[in-house]
């Protein structure tokens, strides 16, 4: 029962925060909502006793969000100064987000405290992580590799779009420098000896 109530609360938070991501005007607010969103999802995972996933989500996504945030800032030419100036303005929302996150944590922990219905106990020696690993590296080896390729693509894409040589700046070309050979550097010029007349 308690489990169900908890689920619905989390789900509601998840949906609301997700909607907020795309509706709020301020990009920073949106990012904050996104963090909340991930956090809540992780909470849901925990409810299902998928601890590994929950942790991975928090670790990876919160990290990824930062990357994305930077990406957005870079791509959209958002004026960072302006953002920084609005830090006090953003504080209330940040506080709200923080508050909710604290509440969720407490609720999750409280489940143990209140002794609610637990999911089906797995046998001894059962490890979420291990099962996941087994699957990933046997049946899903191919998709896993593909996922890796996707990351590669993401990197290439980012590089291709952002890291360009500008025509108007000077910079060293290490590849050229390394490949340079002596013959190219020094030109020996044979000159006829000058004779004094």
């Amino acid at each position: 029962m308690f489990e169900a109530v908890l689920f619905y609360i989390f789900a509601t938070v998840l949906v609301v925060s997700a909607v907020a991501i795309i509706t709020v005007r301020n990009p920073v607010h949106a990012v904050l909502c996104m963090v909340l969103c991930f956090f809540t999802t992780a909470g849901l995972w925990l409810l299902l006793r998928a601890e590994f996933l929950a942790i991975a989500l928090v670790l990876v996504y919160v990290g990824a969000v930062m990357v994305l945030f930077l990406f957005v800032v870079m791509m959209l030419d958002v004026n960072v100064e302006q953002l920084r100036a609005g830090i006090w303005k953003n504080l209330p929302l940040a506080l709200v987000v923080g508050g909710i996150m604290i509440f969720e944590m407490v609720a999750l922990l409280a489940r143990q405290v209140f002794g609610g219905l637990a999911p089906r106990e797995a046998g001894p020696g059962y490890s979420n992580t291990k099962e996941l690993g087994m699957l990933l590296y046997t049946d899903y080896a191919y998709p896993l590799e593909v996922a890796a390729v996707i990351l590669l693509v993401a990197i290439i894409a980012a590089i291709a779009l952002t890291l360009r040589r500008r025509k108007d700046t000077r910079r060293p070309a290490p590849a050229e420098q390394i490949r340079a050979r002596r013959e190219e550097r020094v030109r020996l010029v044979a000159m006829p000896a000058e004779k004094d007349e």
Binding site: I22, R25, L76, D77
Partner: protein, 605 residues
């Protein structure tokens, strides 16, 4: 080569030769016609000895073409050959001054051979073909002076009217072939029952067209626009005769009701066109009307059940009418006109020509011992002997009376009045042709018993008929000589001069409706075209609309959904237009529209 083929091919092969050589056209024409004439006479001699000739040619699959020389066809072939040869002799003189002689003679020869094919045809397909070809030839001949005003409409009209009537022949032929399973004319003559009635009536229509019977008589008078020898040939032994020949040949098959119809049509025509002739102010047109009238008499004879009488009248009329035309041609040359007012006294200028003309006129009127008397007598006797004597005989007699009247009127005009003699080139040739024909017109009557023997048919003999016929002829002549046509016709005069056309005649009943339908079709056509274009434009319009909606996304329902997101999109302006939101919304709505029915369907079933 068989005689039967020579009769046709001799004139036919001379025609292209003339066109190719372009010199000595008359000599070549006479040569061709002469050889044809010999062949025809040969056929006739053979036939009189009981020797038939037949030629089977490849035609359509299962429907071969046949040429046959029976006594009847051989006789007709000889008639055609004789008359045409004499007319050609005349034409040698008549056309002496014309620069396009080769064309004239070539077409004339073509005409002759087509007519020979028609009379010698032993099957319906060949007959039909020849039937249409003489139409073509007469079109070309009537339109010979195509640059003169009025000629083209005359030629066009002649061809069109006859061709319309030819539909009757077409369908009759189809019915007969369908009934008999063969196109052999002899075989199809066994047809009976409703098929025979239908075919007979259709044949009558065809004959009415060709023989210019009321109400299709109008074209013949207009056809006078062509050279005179053409008229002579057209009216005597070829084009116009074809109708009568057709009915004579098919008479054994025709059931009584059809015969009655034929008789009545013929009788009415002989009276109506007789009246027209009486009121006609132009000599050639008068003769043309007279032709219709005489063919009316022949139809009366056919209707009375005595085709032989019709045949005899056909033969006599052929000689007579060609004589009359040839004479008229001479008068025409001397006065450069054919209007009777202009021709007044023309006969007095050339008494010998006038004598020939007058003899022929008297023959036509039916004065003994000229040929016309015997043939007309046979017709009246046949009418009297028929079961419908009251109708047929009275019509025939009225026709005879009118014949006398208009011929007398003509003679009177030509004889009276002052002379304006003028020399004519080629008069010798013309005189020769005319003389030959007049001699025929006078003496042909003597040959009639021979014809009866040849065909082994006896004519009904009737003294009453002779008396009635002669008195009608004499009475007519007297009336015509003594009383002006104006008085004779009285109130009918204007109507007669219009050719008794009912409410505008042919134009009102055929041409205008056809043109109206054509215009209707054209209108529909425009609309169809516009419709197709409109569909095209509609497509393009839809395309534009779709493009706009796609570029700027659908308004309405979706727009309202999108408005909120648009507002949200404002701050992202710098990079994106915000349209993505709208498009996503459209996508969402589209998805819902597609899948909601799916789910409903799944949940219900």
């Amino acid at each position: 080569m068989s005689l039967i083929a020579s009769a046709i091919l001799a004139p036919l092969s001379a025609a292209p030769l003339i066109l190719l050589l372009r010199r000595l056209p008359a000599a070549l024409a006479l040569l061709g016609a002469g050889v044809g004439l010999l062949a025809s006479l040969g056929l006739l001699v053979d036939a009189s000895h009981g020797i038939g000739d037949a030629l089977i040619l490849p035609g359509l699959p299962d429907l071969p073409l046949r040429l046959v020389a029976t006594p009847l066809t051989a006789l007709l072939s000889s008639l055609v050959a004789v008359i045409s040869s004499l007319v050609l002799v005349y034409a040698t003189g008549y056309m002496k001054q014309d620069s396009e002689k080769p064309r004239f003679f070539a077409i004339m020869l073509f005409f002759v051979s087509a007519m020979q094919t028609l009379v010698l045809a032993g099957d319906w397909i060949l007959l039909l073909a020849a039937w249409e070809l003489i139409g073509l030839a007469s079109y070309l001949l009537i339109g010979f002076w195509y640059r003169r005003p009025g000629v083209r409409s005359a030629a066009t009209r002649a061809f069109l009217v006859t061709r319309s009537a030819d539909l009757g022949l077409y369908i009759a032929v189809f019915i007969l072939i369908a009934g008999a399973g063969s196109s052999d004319i002899a075989t199809t003559l066994d047809t009976g029952g409703r098929a025979a009635v239908a075919a007979g009536l259709l044949l009558l229509i065809a004959a009415m067209g060709k023989s210019a019977q009321t109400p299709l008589h109008d074209w013949l008078q207009r056809a006078m626009a062509g050279p005179t020898p053409v008229s002579a040939l057209l009216h005597s032994a070829t084009l116009v005769a074809a109708g009568a020949i057709l009915l004579i040949r098919t008479a054994p098959m025709l059931p009584p009701e059809v015969l009655l119809a034929i008789g009545i049509v013929g009788g009415i025509t002989s009276v109506v066109t007789g009246l027209i002739a009486l009121g006609e102010p132009d000599l050639k047109r008068l003769l043309a009307a007279s032709t219709s009238s005489q063919y009316g008499l022949m139809l009366v004879a056919v209707g009375a059940g005595v085709p032989l009488a019709a045949l005899l009248h056909l033969i006599a009329h052929a000689a007579i009418k060609s004589s009359l035309f040839l004479g008229a041609g001479v008068f025409q040359h001397s006065r450069d006109s054919t209007a009777l007012t202009e021709l007044a006294g023309a006969g007095r200028d050339r008494p010998r020509i006038f004598a020939g003309f007058a003899l022929a006129a008297l023959a036509l009127a039916g004065i003994p011992p000229l040929s016309g008397f015997y043939s007309k007598d046979a017709v009246i006797a046949a009418a009297l002997a028929s079961t419908k004597a009251p109708i047929l005989a009275s019509l025939a007699l009225a026709g005879t009376l009118l014949t006398g009247a208009y011929m007398a009127r003509t003679l009177r005009v030509l004889w009276r009045g002052s002379g304006k003699r003028r020399d004519i080139a080629g008069l010798g040739w013309m005189g020769a042709g005319l003389a030959g024909l007049v001699i025929l017109a006078i003496f042909l009557g003597a040959a009639f018993p021979a014809v009866e023997r040849l065909l082994s048919v006896r004519l009904p003999e009737n003294t009453l008929a002779q008396v009635l016929g002669l008195s009608a002829a004499l009475g007519g002549l007297a009336l015509g000589w003594l009383i002006p046509a104006r008085r004779l016709l009285g109130p009918l005069l204007p109507w007669a001069q219009q050719g008794f056309a009912l409410a505008g005649g042919l134009d009102t009943w055929m041409v205008r409706p056809a043109l109206a339908v054509a215009r209707g079709c054209e209108q529909l056509e425009r609309q169809l075209y516009a419709g197709v274009l409109a569909v095209g434009r509609l497509g393009l319009g839809i395309g534009q609309a779709v493009r706009r909606s796609d570029d700027r996304v659908i308004d309405g329902l979706i727009f309202s959904l999108a408005r909120a997101t648009v507002n949200l999109g404002h701050r992202a302006r710098t990079l994106q237009s915000g349209l993505i939101h709208r498009e996503l919304a459209v996508t969402a709505v589209g998805t819902v529209l597609i899948f909601v029915p799916l789910f409903i369907a799944l949940l219900i079933f």
